[in-house]
């Protein structure tokens, strides 16, 4: 038997403008659980996509059981014994468990010249495999009647039924209850004892300790190292994940903070039990308040709730000391709050409209003549003013926004909010997908804004940006505020350890 079930060696992958993976190694022993760890954007998903043939590697080799292998696509991966249990399951809840397990590969039988689905065989087989992972579900019941954890077990049973030798579990416990996690671990141990290998992607230290044998850490698309879990401490793991040199790509930030609290959030709870709960924080005038945490920490959700895009079950939001009741974004805008959303394409730009329309859309009421007619001259003035101030590179204000680069689109969205003259600007991942030059310009704009006495909340999943720009950092984990760090105390290690504080 080969020493390793799977070997990925020296894998590199570039996308236009970024090197997503640079010489990454991953070696998984048979019958072990191998934890793959790294910050958001460290390249874990990209690596797995290369493994499954969704992305083509630029360089690198894959060996399965010592045999060099090329994997063309996910289907091919499946034939070669690799299966993935996705972070976001994509089941068909209204069909039966068995049908979900055999989707696309239904057992068939012949009735004369016609082929038809052999339901009897399918259900029997499904039942057998479910028993195999100690899940006694009726394969004929609808998948939708199961809990998320149980669906995940079904997904694993499916992988096992396809003779998978290596199963990838991508943050499998992110939406499970404690009991479900226990059940999942039982299945994982059982598979292990049968020689199945698993790659386990997770941020939760306690789980890694409990279930994983080996660990590989990645950082910024590079390979940091591999250890046996027993040989490495939690602190060391955190250090290895964040241990980068902080390069000085941020404009000098002044401290323009005053004592005035412009936004106060008290004990805010989402209507969804698994989203943010009991969150409180304060934002002061002239402050850049950073929000750190892992993907899924519910930072975006709480900001969208404050802005009226999501439901709030309880808690209070105060603007300049006055409780406000924000039901829709329009209410928030009236209270002097602006919001640059994370999903620029989905909730930011109005793609088929011009730059002028995109800039003016949320402040049109300021440019009315006789309460009816828009003064296009005034609007053009506003747009030109902003195009100049934010140095938006565009041939004309009539250009469609979708033809601009990401950085310029983002500046147009910033201009839209500046036109409203808000006191508080929430910026969710303001520099995502933007090139370095434009990033710097956006940082400069942010600093100029706080200098003028506005306040900014910035959600960022990029640690250097978070530390480089914020006067103060609030860290969230799993829907809770787990820490708050004043300027100088905020280090990568401390943010990361708060961000992985799942137990509370």
């Amino acid at each position: 038997m080969a020493e390793y079930r799977l070997e990925m060696e020296d894998v590199s992958k570039s996308f236009p403008g970024v090197k997503a993976l640079d010489g990454v190694h991953l070696k998984v022993r048979p019958g072990t659980v191998h934890a793959l760890m790294g910050e958001n954007g460290a390249g874990k998903s990209t690596l797995m996509k290369c493994l499954f043939g969704i992305y083509k590697m630029d360089t690198g080799a894959i060996r399965i059981d010592g045999e060099p292998t090329a994997i063309e696509n996910p289907d091919d991966a499946l034939h070669k014994g690799l299966a993935m249990v996705h972070q976001e399951l994509q089941p068909i809840p209204d069909r039966t468990i068995a049908e979900n397990m055999y989707l696309g590969r239904y057992p068939m039988k012949k009735i004369g010249p016609f082929g038809m689905v052999d339901h009897k065989t399918m259900n029997e087989e499904a039942e057998k495999w479910l028993k195999d992972v100690k899940m006694d579900f009726d394969p004929k019941s609808k998948l939708g009647t199961l809990s998320i954890g149980q669906m995940q077990s079904v997904e694993i049973a499916k992988a096992v039924s396809q003779n998978a030798k290596l199963v990838i579990l991508d943050e499998p416990t992110s939406s499970l209850t404690d009991n479900e996690v226990e059940a999942l671990f039982r299945i994982i141990r059982d598979l292990k004892s049968r020689g199945v290998s698993m790659i386990y992607i997770s941020h939760k230290m306690a789980e890694i300790r409990q279930i994983a044998d080996d660990i590989t850490i990645m950082r910024d698309g590079t390979y940091v190292g591999s250890w046996e879990v027993k040989d490495i401490s939690d602190d060391e793991i955190v250090r290895q994940m964040v241990g980068r040199e902080l390069t000085n790509v941020y404009p000098p930030k002044g401290d323009y903070r005053t004592d005035e609290v412009v936004l106060e959030v008290n004990d805010l709870c989402s209507i969804h039990p698994r989203s943010f709960q009991h969150c409180s924080f304060k934002l002061r005038k002239g402050e850049i308040l950073g929000f750190g945490g892992l993907v899924g920490a519910q930072r975006t959700e709480i900001m969208e709730a404050i802005f009226g895009m999501r439901g709030i079950a309880s808690g209070q939001v105060l603007v300049k000391g006055r409780p406000v009741n924000i039901k829709r974004p329009a209410d928030a805008i009236r209270e002097g709050i602006g919001m640059i959303t994370e999903d620029r394409r989905g909730t930011g730009i109005l793609g088929c409209l011009s730059i002028a329309d995109n800039v003016s859309i949320s402040s049109l009421n300021h440019y009315l003549e006789g309460n009816v007619m828009l003064n296009h001259k005034k609007i053009e003035g506003l747009v030109q003013d902003n195009v100049g101030k934010l140095s938006i590179k565009t041939p004309s204000s009539r250009t469609l926004i979708q033809s601009l680069s990401g950085g310029n689109q983002q500046k147009v969205i910033i201009a839209r909010w500046l036109a409203n003259n808000p006191d508080v600007l929430i910026m969710d991942e303001p520099t995502r997908g933007i090139d370095v030059g434009a990033k710097y310009e956006i940082y400069q704009i942010m600093i100029e804004l706080v200098r003028q006495g506005k306040s900014i909340i910035m959600i960022s999943s990029e640690m250097p940006e978070l530390l480089g720009m914020s006067n103060r950092v609030v860290v969230m984990c799993n829907g809770h505020v787990t820490g708050e760090l004043e300027g100088e105390e905020a280090t990568q290690e401390r943010v990361m350890s708060y961000a992985t504080q799942f137990e509370n």
């Binding site: 329009a330 959303t341 989905g346 909730t347 730009i349 793609g351 409209l353 949320s362 007619m373 839209r416």
Partner: protein
């Protein structure tokens, strides 16, 4: 390569107008009477009310909706107008309204306001259903189509209505500066809608909602209110068109307006209004309606039986929307 792509793009954008244009020219050559002033005038008179309907539907389309109740609302408006505007001495007067006093000429205008208000109520329901209940516009307005037809049947008991007062039919036959009233009315509607679409926040919001509804909401646009305004206004335009069509025909029945919504949608897409939302101009709608009416007239001149005309119209509707969707796919 790029040359080839350009051709493809050109055909997607203007293919249907080209084909229909060729058909019109062909008809003109084969049937010289097609291009007489008289015929063109009659086509133009058909364009006026159809344009009013189509411009109403265009607002719904631009916000990624649609309004399938348009035709039936036209019918209802025509029927209600007809029953309220019969000659006092007409023998076959409508049962419910036969004791109505013989009001002076202002009554014609009052009736127009009445039918517009009645249809506005149905438009309001459409708007509420689409925005507050989040029912897809296609289904919601299809339901309304049936309801309005039912109401029209109940009201008229399916009897044809005729014997209109002269001052009502004069709306269609009369003219000002040698140009028929119908033109003036369509012109005013067109200018008003152009102003609304281009010069007011409402218009900007409409395009924004069609372009990206969520982004519009985040930008503080009251999406629900905008949609309600659009559906109400559209319904009022259908009422106006129904009122005019009744006057033009000199009589009406429950079948008035049947299928006009699809013709309007087709005319809009031919004229560059995208069913994917966010794109469309009033001038484009006008062009679309003219092209569609020319097609209908050309088919008549070529002696195509009415039954076959339906088949051709159906094909044109599907092709025009299929081409429109191509534009969208190409953009991605």
């Amino acid at each position: 390569m790029s040359k080839k792509m350009d051709w493809k793009q050109f055909l997607i954008n203007y293919g249907i107008i080209c084909v229909l244009g060729l058909l019109v020219i062909y008809t003109g050559i084969m049937r010289p009477k097609f291009f007489t002033l008289r015929n063109l005038q009659s086509i133009a008179l058909n364009v006026a009310p159809r344009f009013i309907i189509a411009v109403g539907v265009s607002g719904c389309l631009i916000t990624k909706g649609t309004d399938l109740s348009a035709g039936r609302m036209v019918g209802l408006a025509a029927c209600i107008s007809g029953t309220l505007l019969q000659k006092a001495d007409y023998s076959g007067r409508f049962e419910l309204t036969k004791n109505l006093p013989d009001f002076p000429a202002w009554w014609v205008f009052a009736v127009l306001i009445i039918v517009m208000l009645i249809c506005a109520i149905f438009g309001l329901i459409n708007g509420l259903v689409v925005s507050y209940l989040s029912v897809p516009a296609f289904i919601g307005t299809l339901g309304m189509q049936l309801m309005v037809y039912g109401i029209c049947l109940v009201y008229t008991d399916a009897t044809p209505i005729g014997g209109y007062r002269n001052d009502y039919t004069y709306v269609a036959t009369g003219s000002f500066l040698k140009i028929p009233f119908l033109f003036w009315i369509a012109l005013v509607v067109g200018l008003l809608m152009w102003f609304l679409y281009n010069m007011t926040p409402h218009g900007k919001y409409m395009y924004a909602i069609g372009g990206n509804e969520q982004a519009a909401e985040v930008s503080g646009v009251n999406v629900k209110r905008s949609k309600i305004i659009i559906y109400v206004m559209a319904a009022m335009l259908y009422a106006l068109a129904g009122f005019l069509l009744g006057a033009k025909a000199g009589g009406t029945s429950v079948n008035m307006g049947n299928g006009y919504e699809l013709e309007a949608i087709a005319a809009c897409t031919i004229g560059g209004v995208s069913v994917n939302g966010g794109i469309g101009k009033v001038s484009g709608v006008l062009i679309g309606v003219m092209v569609f009416e020319l097609l209908k007239s050309a088919m008549q001149f070529l002696g195509l039986e009415t039954n076959y005309q339906y088949i051709v119209q159906g094909i044109v509707i599907i092709v025009s929307i299929a081409l429109d969707i191509r534009k969208y796919i190409a953009k991605k």
